[in-house]
Protein backbone atom coordinates (compact mmCIF):
# COMPACT_ATOMS: atom_id res chain seq x y z
CA UNK A 1 0.00 0.00 0.00
CA UNK A 2 1.27 3.41 -0.94
CA UNK A 3 0.25 5.13 2.27
CA UNK A 4 1.95 2.59 4.49
CA UNK A 5 5.12 2.52 2.43
CA UNK A 6 5.51 6.26 2.49
CA UNK A 7 4.73 7.08 6.09
CA UNK A 8 7.97 8.87 6.78
CA UNK A 9 8.62 11.57 9.30
CA UNK A 10 10.54 14.74 8.64
CA UNK A 11 13.84 13.38 9.83
CA UNK A 12 17.31 13.53 8.34
CA UNK A 13 18.40 10.20 6.87
CA UNK A 14 21.92 8.81 7.05
CA UNK A 15 24.49 10.08 4.56
CA UNK A 16 23.13 13.60 3.95
CA UNK A 17 25.40 15.17 6.56
CA UNK A 18 28.84 13.62 7.10
CA UNK A 19 29.76 11.45 10.08
CA UNK A 20 32.00 14.02 11.78
CA UNK A 21 29.35 16.74 11.86
CA UNK A 22 26.74 14.18 12.93
CA UNK A 23 28.96 13.06 15.83
CA UNK A 24 29.57 16.67 16.88
CA UNK A 25 25.83 17.37 16.99
CA UNK A 26 25.23 14.11 18.87
CA UNK A 27 27.52 15.42 21.62
CA UNK A 28 25.84 18.86 21.60
CA UNK A 29 22.40 17.25 21.77
CA UNK A 30 23.43 14.95 24.59
CA UNK A 31 24.74 17.88 26.64
CA UNK A 32 21.58 19.89 25.91
CA UNK A 33 19.33 17.00 26.95
CA UNK A 34 21.39 16.50 30.11
CA UNK A 35 20.82 20.16 30.94
CA UNK A 36 17.09 19.69 30.28
CA UNK A 37 17.03 16.77 32.75
CA UNK A 38 18.66 18.95 35.42
CA UNK A 39 16.34 21.91 34.85
CA UNK A 40 13.28 19.81 34.10
CA UNK A 41 13.33 18.01 37.44
CA UNK A 42 12.13 21.19 39.15
CA UNK A 43 9.02 21.13 36.92
CA UNK A 44 8.33 17.41 37.20
CA UNK A 45 5.79 16.88 39.95
CA UNK A 46 2.98 14.35 40.40
CA UNK A 47 0.84 16.24 37.91
CA UNK A 48 3.36 17.15 35.23
CA UNK A 49 5.18 13.79 35.02
CA UNK A 50 2.22 11.74 33.68
CA UNK A 51 1.08 14.72 31.58
CA UNK A 52 4.53 14.79 29.95
CA UNK A 53 4.21 11.09 29.13
CA UNK A 54 0.90 11.83 27.43
CA UNK A 55 2.37 14.80 25.54
CA UNK A 56 5.17 12.59 24.18
CA UNK A 57 2.72 9.84 23.16
CA UNK A 58 0.43 12.43 21.52
CA UNK A 59 3.33 13.97 19.58
CA UNK A 60 4.37 10.52 18.38
CA UNK A 61 0.83 9.86 17.14
CA UNK A 62 0.42 13.22 15.40
CA UNK A 63 3.86 12.95 13.76
CA UNK A 64 2.43 10.02 11.80
CA UNK A 65 -0.21 12.28 10.26
CA UNK A 66 1.45 13.82 7.23
CA UNK A 67 -0.66 16.53 5.65
CA UNK A 68 -0.27 17.89 2.12
CA UNK A 69 1.31 21.36 1.92
CA UNK A 70 2.17 21.54 -1.80
CA UNK A 71 1.58 19.17 -4.71
CA UNK A 72 3.86 16.20 -3.98
CA UNK A 73 5.09 17.64 -0.69
CA UNK A 74 3.76 16.85 2.76
CA UNK A 75 4.67 17.77 6.31
CA UNK A 76 3.83 16.80 9.83
CA UNK A 77 3.90 18.32 13.27
CA UNK A 78 7.27 18.41 15.01
CA UNK A 79 5.78 19.26 18.38
CA UNK A 80 8.40 21.41 20.09
CA UNK A 81 6.19 24.46 20.61
CA UNK A 82 3.22 22.30 21.65
CA UNK A 83 5.34 20.44 24.22
CA UNK A 84 6.88 23.65 25.55
CA UNK A 85 3.42 25.20 26.00
CA UNK A 86 1.96 22.18 27.80
CA UNK A 87 4.88 20.93 29.92
CA UNK A 88 7.54 23.64 29.73
CA UNK A 89 10.72 23.95 27.69
CA UNK A 90 12.97 21.51 29.58
CA UNK A 91 10.57 18.60 29.89
CA UNK A 92 9.11 19.50 26.49
CA UNK A 93 12.47 19.04 24.77
CA UNK A 94 12.84 15.68 26.51
CA UNK A 95 9.38 14.64 25.25
CA UNK A 96 10.29 15.41 21.63
CA UNK A 97 13.69 13.71 22.04
CA UNK A 98 12.01 10.55 23.38
CA UNK A 99 9.73 10.48 20.33
CA UNK A 100 12.71 10.85 17.98
CA UNK A 101 14.70 8.13 19.76
CA UNK A 102 11.80 5.65 19.64
CA UNK A 103 11.16 6.50 15.97
CA UNK A 104 14.82 5.93 15.14
CA UNK A 105 15.41 2.74 17.15
CA UNK A 106 12.02 1.04 16.78
CA UNK A 107 10.75 2.22 13.41
CA UNK A 108 14.02 2.93 11.54
CA UNK A 109 12.93 6.52 10.88
CA UNK A 110 15.61 9.20 10.86
CA UNK A 111 19.12 7.80 10.48
CA UNK A 112 20.86 6.36 13.53
CA UNK A 113 23.97 8.35 12.61
CA UNK A 114 21.75 11.41 12.12
CA UNK A 115 19.93 11.05 15.46
CA UNK A 116 21.98 13.82 17.08
CA UNK A 117 21.19 16.14 14.16
CA UNK A 118 17.48 15.40 14.37
CA UNK A 119 17.38 15.79 18.16
CA UNK A 120 19.22 19.09 17.89
CA UNK A 121 16.86 20.52 15.25
CA UNK A 122 13.49 19.30 16.48
CA UNK A 123 13.89 18.69 20.22
CA UNK A 124 16.41 21.41 21.13
CA UNK A 125 16.07 24.22 18.54
CA UNK A 126 12.37 23.79 17.78
CA UNK A 127 11.36 23.66 21.43
CA UNK A 128 13.64 26.54 22.43
CA UNK A 129 12.40 28.82 19.65
CA UNK A 130 8.81 27.86 20.34
CA UNK A 131 9.16 28.54 24.03
CA UNK A 132 10.80 31.94 23.49
CA UNK A 133 7.75 32.97 21.47
CA UNK A 134 5.42 31.58 24.16
CA UNK A 135 7.28 33.46 26.89
CA UNK A 136 7.07 36.70 24.89
CA UNK A 137 3.51 36.48 23.61
CA UNK A 138 1.85 35.31 26.82
CA UNK A 139 2.91 38.52 28.49
CA UNK A 140 0.83 40.41 25.93
CA UNK A 141 -2.09 38.10 25.19
CA UNK A 142 -4.87 37.19 27.61
CA UNK A 143 -4.37 33.98 29.55
CA UNK A 144 -7.49 32.41 28.11
CA UNK A 145 -7.93 29.32 25.90
CA UNK A 146 -8.03 31.67 22.91
CA UNK A 147 -4.93 33.58 23.97
CA UNK A 148 -2.89 30.48 24.64
CA UNK A 149 -4.10 28.94 21.36
CA UNK A 150 -2.96 31.99 19.36
CA UNK A 151 0.36 31.82 21.22
CA UNK A 152 0.80 28.13 20.40
CA UNK A 153 0.04 28.84 16.74
CA UNK A 154 2.70 31.56 16.35
CA UNK A 155 5.20 29.57 18.44
CA UNK A 156 4.69 26.52 16.22
CA UNK A 157 5.37 28.42 13.00
CA UNK A 158 8.52 29.91 14.54
CA UNK A 159 9.67 26.59 16.00
CA UNK A 160 9.29 24.68 12.74
CA UNK A 161 11.04 27.33 10.62
CA UNK A 162 13.93 27.61 13.11
CA UNK A 163 14.25 23.80 13.22
CA UNK A 164 14.42 23.72 9.41
CA UNK A 165 17.25 26.25 9.49
CA UNK A 166 19.07 24.02 11.97
CA UNK A 167 19.28 21.51 9.17
CA UNK A 168 20.69 24.19 6.86
CA UNK A 169 23.46 24.92 9.40
CA UNK A 170 24.27 21.21 9.69
CA UNK A 171 24.29 20.84 5.92
CA UNK A 172 26.56 23.87 5.59
CA UNK A 173 28.98 22.30 8.09
CA UNK A 174 29.03 18.78 6.73
CA UNK A 175 26.80 18.27 3.71
CA UNK A 176 27.91 15.34 1.56
CA UNK A 177 27.02 17.26 -1.60
CA UNK A 178 27.84 20.81 -2.67
CA UNK A 179 24.68 22.71 -3.40
CA UNK A 180 23.75 26.37 -3.04
CA UNK A 181 23.13 27.09 0.63
CA UNK A 182 21.00 30.14 -0.11
CA UNK A 183 18.63 28.11 -2.26
CA UNK A 184 18.42 25.37 0.36
CA UNK A 185 17.80 27.85 3.19
CA UNK A 186 15.06 29.60 1.22
CA UNK A 187 13.39 26.36 0.08
CA UNK A 188 13.48 24.90 3.58
CA UNK A 189 12.14 28.11 5.15
CA UNK A 190 9.37 28.40 2.56
CA UNK A 191 8.06 24.86 2.77
CA UNK A 192 8.44 24.81 6.56
CA UNK A 193 6.42 27.99 6.92
CA UNK A 194 3.55 26.08 5.32
CA UNK A 195 4.20 23.03 7.53
CA UNK A 196 4.43 25.36 10.53
CA UNK A 197 0.98 26.76 9.76
CA UNK A 198 -0.40 23.20 9.70
CA UNK A 199 1.41 22.40 12.92
CA UNK A 200 0.17 25.66 14.41
CA UNK A 201 -3.45 24.77 13.72
CA UNK A 202 -3.03 21.36 15.38
CA UNK A 203 -1.11 22.80 18.34
CA UNK A 204 -3.63 25.64 18.82
CA UNK A 205 -6.58 23.22 18.80
CA UNK A 206 -4.83 20.90 21.24
CA UNK A 207 -3.74 23.63 23.64
CA UNK A 208 -7.15 25.34 23.55
CA UNK A 209 -8.84 22.04 24.35
CA UNK A 210 -6.57 21.32 27.32
CA UNK A 211 -6.90 24.93 28.52
CA UNK A 212 -10.68 24.59 28.48
CA UNK A 213 -10.85 21.18 30.17
CA UNK A 214 -7.91 21.41 32.57
CA UNK A 215 -6.25 24.86 32.53
CA UNK A 216 -4.08 23.77 35.46
CA UNK A 217 -2.36 21.27 33.13
CA UNK A 218 -1.08 23.99 30.76
CA UNK A 219 2.43 24.89 31.89
CA UNK A 220 2.47 28.21 30.04
CA UNK A 221 -0.70 29.34 31.84
CA UNK A 222 0.75 28.46 35.23
CA UNK A 223 4.13 29.98 34.49
CA UNK A 224 3.03 33.33 33.10
CA UNK A 225 0.06 34.19 35.26
CA UNK A 226 -0.18 37.70 36.55
CA UNK A 227 -1.54 36.89 40.00
CA UNK A 228 0.60 34.74 42.22
CA UNK A 229 -0.83 31.31 42.93
CA UNK A 230 -2.82 30.91 46.07
CA UNK A 231 -2.34 27.20 46.68
CA UNK A 232 0.85 26.02 45.01
CA UNK A 233 3.96 28.17 45.28
CA UNK A 234 6.04 28.52 42.14
CA UNK A 235 9.00 26.19 42.31
CA UNK A 236 10.70 27.40 39.16
CA UNK A 237 13.35 30.00 39.78
CA UNK A 238 14.02 31.00 36.20
Amino acid sequence: MLTAMNVVAMHIANGIVDARTSAAFAVVSLVALGFCVLRGRADLDDRLAPMAGLVAAFIFAVQMLNFQVLPGVSGHLLGGALAATLVGPWVGALCVATVLIVQCLLFADGGLTALGLNVFNMAVLGTAAGYLVVAGLLRLLPRTPGGVAATAFVASVAGVVVASQGFVIEYAMGGTTQLSLGTIAATMAGVHTLIGIGEGLIAATTVATVARVRPDLVYALRRFRTQPAAATPEAVTA
Partner: protein
Protein backbone atom coordinates in the same frame (compact mmCIF):
# COMPACT_ATOMS: atom_id res chain seq x y z
CA UNK B 1 -2.26 10.99 41.01
CA UNK B 2 -5.84 12.13 41.33
CA UNK B 3 -8.71 10.26 39.71
CA UNK B 4 -9.58 13.32 37.61
CA UNK B 5 -6.07 13.41 36.18
CA UNK B 6 -6.36 9.70 35.52
CA UNK B 7 -9.48 10.23 33.40
CA UNK B 8 -7.82 13.08 31.51
CA UNK B 9 -4.80 10.90 30.74
CA UNK B 10 -6.98 7.99 29.67
CA UNK B 11 -8.91 10.26 27.31
CA UNK B 12 -5.73 11.73 25.87
CA UNK B 13 -4.19 8.32 25.35
CA UNK B 14 -7.32 7.04 23.66
CA UNK B 15 -7.16 9.99 21.25
CA UNK B 16 -3.46 9.29 20.55
CA UNK B 17 -4.22 5.61 19.90
CA UNK B 18 -7.02 6.55 17.48
CA UNK B 19 -4.81 9.05 15.65
CA UNK B 20 -1.87 6.66 15.33
CA UNK B 21 -4.01 3.58 14.81
CA UNK B 22 -6.74 4.76 12.46
CA UNK B 23 -6.20 8.30 11.15
CA UNK B 24 -2.56 7.48 10.21
CA UNK B 25 -3.88 5.27 7.40
CA UNK B 26 -5.26 8.37 5.70
CA UNK B 27 -2.13 10.53 6.01
CA UNK B 28 -0.48 12.03 2.93
CA UNK B 29 1.95 9.67 1.22
CA UNK B 30 3.99 12.45 -0.38
CA UNK B 31 7.57 12.99 0.77
CA UNK B 32 7.75 15.57 3.59
CA UNK B 33 9.26 19.04 3.35
CA UNK B 34 12.80 17.98 4.22
CA UNK B 35 12.71 14.85 2.07
CA UNK B 36 11.29 16.72 -0.90
CA UNK B 37 13.93 19.46 -0.58
CA UNK B 38 16.72 16.90 -0.15
CA UNK B 39 15.61 15.05 -3.30
CA UNK B 40 15.10 18.16 -5.40
CA UNK B 41 17.29 17.80 -8.50
CA UNK B 42 17.50 14.01 -8.40
CA UNK B 43 15.46 11.48 -10.33
CA UNK B 44 13.81 8.65 -8.43
CA UNK B 45 12.27 5.32 -9.34
CA UNK B 46 8.85 4.03 -8.36
CA UNK B 47 10.14 2.98 -4.92
CA UNK B 48 11.46 6.50 -4.27
CA UNK B 49 15.08 5.40 -4.65
CA UNK B 50 17.44 7.95 -6.18
CA UNK B 51 18.55 7.00 -9.68
CA UNK B 52 20.54 10.06 -10.78
CA UNK B 53 20.97 13.82 -10.78
CA UNK B 54 22.35 16.19 -8.14
CA UNK B 55 20.59 16.70 -4.84
CA UNK B 56 21.32 16.79 -1.10
CA UNK B 57 20.20 13.18 -0.67
CA UNK B 58 22.49 11.92 -3.48
CA UNK B 59 24.66 10.02 -0.97
CA UNK B 60 21.83 9.07 1.34
CA UNK B 61 22.28 5.67 2.97
CA UNK B 62 19.81 3.16 4.33
CA UNK B 63 18.94 3.21 7.99
CA UNK B 64 21.10 0.82 10.03
CA UNK B 65 17.89 -0.87 11.20
CA UNK B 66 16.09 -0.73 7.84
CA UNK B 67 15.54 -4.49 7.99
CA UNK B 68 13.91 -4.47 11.42
CA UNK B 69 10.41 -5.97 11.69
CA UNK B 70 8.87 -2.57 12.51
CA UNK B 71 10.85 -0.49 9.99
CA UNK B 72 8.95 2.40 8.36
CA UNK B 73 5.97 2.16 10.70
CA UNK B 74 4.75 -1.24 9.65
CA UNK B 75 4.65 -4.72 11.05
CA UNK B 76 6.41 -7.21 8.84
CA UNK B 77 4.11 -9.97 7.69
CA UNK B 78 0.92 -7.91 7.68
CA UNK B 79 -0.06 -7.35 4.07
CA UNK B 80 -2.80 -4.77 4.67
CA UNK B 81 -1.00 -1.41 4.66
CA UNK B 82 -3.44 0.51 6.84
CA UNK B 83 -3.66 -2.30 9.39
CA UNK B 84 0.11 -2.69 9.48
CA UNK B 85 0.70 1.06 9.89
CA UNK B 86 -2.11 1.37 12.43
CA UNK B 87 -0.86 -1.45 14.65
CA UNK B 88 2.69 -0.12 14.49
CA UNK B 89 1.34 3.31 15.42
CA UNK B 90 -0.56 1.98 18.44
CA UNK B 91 2.54 0.08 19.54
CA UNK B 92 4.58 3.27 19.19
CA UNK B 93 2.12 5.30 21.28
CA UNK B 94 2.24 2.69 24.04
CA UNK B 95 6.04 2.46 23.97
CA UNK B 96 6.54 6.25 23.97
CA UNK B 97 4.03 6.74 26.80
CA UNK B 98 5.52 3.94 28.92
CA UNK B 99 9.10 5.03 28.31
CA UNK B 100 8.68 8.78 28.80
CA UNK B 101 5.89 8.68 31.38
CA UNK B 102 7.74 6.01 33.37
CA UNK B 103 11.03 7.86 33.33
CA UNK B 104 9.43 11.21 34.20
CA UNK B 105 7.48 9.57 37.04
CA UNK B 106 10.65 8.00 38.46
CA UNK B 107 12.68 11.20 38.43
CA UNK B 108 9.82 13.52 39.47
CA UNK B 109 10.16 15.90 42.37
CA UNK B 110 8.52 14.33 45.41
CA UNK B 111 6.14 16.59 47.28
CA UNK B 112 7.75 18.11 50.34
CA UNK B 113 6.12 16.87 53.54
CA UNK B 114 4.03 19.69 54.93
Amino acid sequence: MSRRLGWFLAGGLLLAVLLAGVVSGFASGSPDGLDATARHGCTTDAQGRITGGTCMARHEQDHQLAGSPLADYGIRGIGNGRLSTGLAGVLGVVVVFALSGGTFWLVRRRKPVS
